[in-house]
């Protein structure tokens, strides 16, 4: 199974949906709520987003694939569900 990690915002309903998508399928994932993170972590996350050309959350990484936004079909496809 590919590793799933996410950067999210605690205020964002689409980030909540993304978390629920993986939780409902018993797919383990890691996440950091950007808005609740310390300044150093926020800076690191923003560098990663800028490098990927991404501006909005959720920011989902499945293996090496980056998926910006709540896109359940793409999550399924990346995981070959």
């Amino acid at each position: 199974m590919k590793e799933v990690s996410m950067y999210t915002l605690s205020t964002c309903p689409w980030c909540r949906k993304a978390k629920k998508f993986f939780a409902d399928r018993n797919i383990p994932f890691n996440y950091i709520d950007y808005d609740l993170a310390d300044e150093a972590t926020q800076g690191k996350i923003m560098q990663e987003l800028d490098a990927a050309g991404v501006t909005g959350f959720p920011y989902v990484k499945i293996g090496d694939e980056v998926i910006s936004g709540y896109q359940p079909e793409r999550y399924s496809s990346a995981l070959r569900l």
Partner: protein, 111 residues
């Protein structure tokens, strides 16, 4: 100010602003209510109702571009996906907001 009354005030103000831009509030009332509530929380924390789905960079010029309603700053992108990033607003002709995926600019041929 109490959360519910501030939500109503934001709704009143935003409605006046987004209409002339070709947008309206999402017909998904539950989503609208949640997003307005988050904006009231963000306004309480930062003094400004920022978009609940875009990160604050602590760079004033860039952060001003995610003050709700942020449509004028992302017009081309939001017109392409017929909604704003958080989904609080959709194009006036949209009746089924669930049919609109949350696509980033590069997925719709921008950037």
């Amino acid at each position: 100010m109490e959360t519910e009354s501030r939500k109503k005030a934001l709704h009143y103000f935003f409605d006046k602003v987004v209409g002339p831009l070709g947008f309206k509030f999402t017909p998904d009332v539950e989503l609208m209510d949640f997003l307005l509530e988050q904006e009231v929380v963000l306004e309480g924390k930062h003094g400004i109702p920022f978009c609940p789905c875009q990160p604050l960079r602590h760079d004033r010029a860039r952060d001003m571009q995610i003050v709700c309603p942020c449509i004028p700053f992302h017009r081309e992108h939001f017109d392409a996906i017929k909604r704003c990033w958080c989904g609080l607003f959709v194009h006036k002709d949209v009746m089924d907001p669930d049919s609109l995926p949350q696509l980033p600019p590069k997925d719709v041929g921008l950037e």
